[in-house]
């Protein structure tokens, strides 16, 4: 392959590694199988040891599954989920809409970084639980305060990641824009933003976890509602198995959201996975 007329090989051959590697079969177990085995093993161990514990102090998968079916049949679970998801999605969505531009601007402009960076860093560490009573005074006990708590918890990881991503954009890519006399706004939108996308997506993923926690906090400390209400009520009744149902549902929800975000990332930034050589 190397000794065909040198000029032609050099001219139009693709990088030799890319297509050839793709053709080779991957060895080892598929990813989903490993994950399934891992989850199966964990559930098995939990079931085995959990079943021998006093049901007030702990629970185990089959008991939780039973409680799940019961909650789902009665319609309570579905209603609570819908009730919880509304402030969750509004708060989380607003955090993305506000956090990404904020991070871009802070990362790109020195003045903005000096003026606003400090609040973002501090805000990330803000003990939000302590501020919930104050938020209640401002926004009442309803939907708004819950969305606000979710928003405040998820805003900062998104902003900080975006900010970090901007500072990691290679200087030379920005110089490409400058050398073609691109205005600052164009450099921001057409060079900095796409170059930062992997970081932004990472921030959005990290924020899922915080948003879920924020949602439960909000439901505990404002009007008790949604999945948080099921947790509190069943805990008060020493019904540990039922208490675990919303917890598991929330974690599964977070996993689902994460995969969805991964999917979106591959749609909006396909080059990233290609460059990194990830193909699944």
């Amino acid at each position: 392959m190397a000794e065909i007329t040198e000029r032609d090989t050099v001219r139009d051959a693709a990088p030799a590694d890319a297509p050839i590697e793709d053709a080779a079969p991957r060895r080892g177990m598929p990813r989903w199988l490993i994950t399934t085995l891992s989850v199966g093993l964990l559930l098995g161990v939990w079931e085995y040891f959990g079943a021998n514990i006093n049901p007030v102090f702990g629970s185990y998968p089959s008991a939780i599954a039973e409680a799940f079916v019961e909650l789902a049949r009665s319609g309570k679970l579905g209603a609570a989920l819908i009730e919880s998801l509304q402030p969750f999605l509004v708060g989380y969505g607003l955090a993305i809409v506000a956090g990404v531009p904020l991070g871009l601007v802070i990362g790109r402009f020195r003045t903005m970084e000096a003026a606003l960076g400090i609040y973002v860093t501090a805000g990330y560490a803000m003990p939000l639980v302590a501020l919930v009573p104050l938020l209640v005074l401002w926004l009442g006990l309803g939907f708004a305060v819950k969305a606000a708590v979710v928003f405040l918890m998820s805003l900062f990881p998104i902003t900080i990641n975006t900010w970090l991503g901007v500072t990691a954009v290679p200087k030379t890519l920005i110089e490409v824009g400058k050398s073609f006399v691109a205005p600052d706004s164009v450099i921001l939108r057409r060079i900095v933003l796409p170059a930062t996308l992997p970081y932004i997506m990472a921030g959005i993923r990290l924020a899922v976890g915080r948003a879920v926690v924020a949602m439960v906090i909000a439901e505990f400390f404002t009007t008790i509602s949604g999945l948080g209400a099921i947790i509190i009520n069943s805990a008060n009744n020493f019904d540990t198995a039922t208490m675990f149902v919303p917890i598991v549902v929330l974690m599964v929800l977070a996993i689902g959201l994460n995969s969805l975000i991964g999917l979106i990332e591959r749609l909006v930034a396909p080059w990233q996975a290609e460059i990194a050589g990830r193909d699944d």
Partner: protein, 264 residues
């Protein structure tokens, strides 16, 4: 017309080394002119200031003193009258080869059918018609740099500024690229300022060579090779090539001491 000139350009950097601040004089009163249609190579060891001089000519860095003119008019900052070819091509990884070429044109305000046609024409010019829809990571090093050259040429600048454009390529690809650059130059007659640290390359492609050392132009030499150069491999065998190469080598090693790079 396309003539770029540096007039008495000086550049100082401050470096913080440990506790104290050091001043590095990267360029000291550098003046030279690249004439219309000429290829000038700027050669010297790393840290001699050649890349800094090029970046100041482009407007990516500002000089501490002195002026840059294009066709006699002073320029400040970047402009469409100068096209930059970067060391590692620096294509935008999320755009296809075609879109990368279009990017520069869009910045110049071109839109619609003209935009596509122009980008296509310049991709043709560098022989990448077939690969127009590939993204940078699907291109070899040489192909990437061809796109980089097409992107810079497409905006039809008066001067092409090239910063060690073939330095990262393997030897065979580099030779191919040098020949292609000669053909491009024969067709477009662009004025080119070409920074390199490769002695052979400097002699093969240039009409004049400026040897830089420690922030100064040490010597300016004419290259007595004919234009068009044709087969560069054959040029290497000529005595004119060997003589010039030796003279440049001597200039680079003048006063015997090995030059030490101070700033890359």
């Amino acid at each position: 017309m396309g003539e770029v000139a540096l007039h008495d350009i000086s550049k100082r950097f401050t470096l913080r080394v440990g506790g104290d601040v050091q001043t590095v004089q990267a360029l000291s009163r550098v003046s030279f002119t690249v004439r219309d249609g000429e290829i000038v190579s700027l050669i010297g060891p790393s840290g001699c200031g050649k890349t800094t001089a090029l970046r100041i000519a482009m407007g990516l860095e500002t000089a501490s003193a002195g002026r840059v003119t294009v066709d006699g008019r002073e320029v400040k900052g970047c402009g469409h009258d100068r096209g930059m070819v970067f060391q590692h091509a620096e294509l935008l990884p999320w755009l296809t080869a075609m879109q990368n070429v279009m990017f520069g044109l869009e910045m110049k305000g071109m839109r619609g059918a003209e935009l596509r046609d122009t980008a296509t024409r310049y991709l043709d010019l560098v022989g990448l018609t077939e690969s127009a829809n590939r993204r940078p990571h699907q291109l070899s090093g040489g192909m990437k740099q061809r796109v980089g050259i097409a992107r810079a040429l497409a905006i039809d600048p008066k001067v092409l500024l090239m910063d060690e454009p073939f330095g990262a390529l393997d030897a065979q690809t580099r030779e191919t690229m040098q020949e292609e650059l000669m053909q491009l130059h024969a067709r477009t007659k662009k004025t080119i300022l070409f920074v390199t640290h490769d002695l052979d390359e400097a002699v093969l492609i240039a009409d004049r060579i400026m040897v830089m050392r420690e922030g100064r132009i040490q010597e300016i030499m004419d290259v007595p090779l004919p234009r068009p150069r044709g087969d560069l491999g054959a040029q290497r065998g000529t005595s004119a090539f060997a003589d010039t190469r030796y003279r440049v080598w001597q200039a680079l090693h003048a006063d015997g001491k090995a030059s030490t790079g101070m700033l890359h």
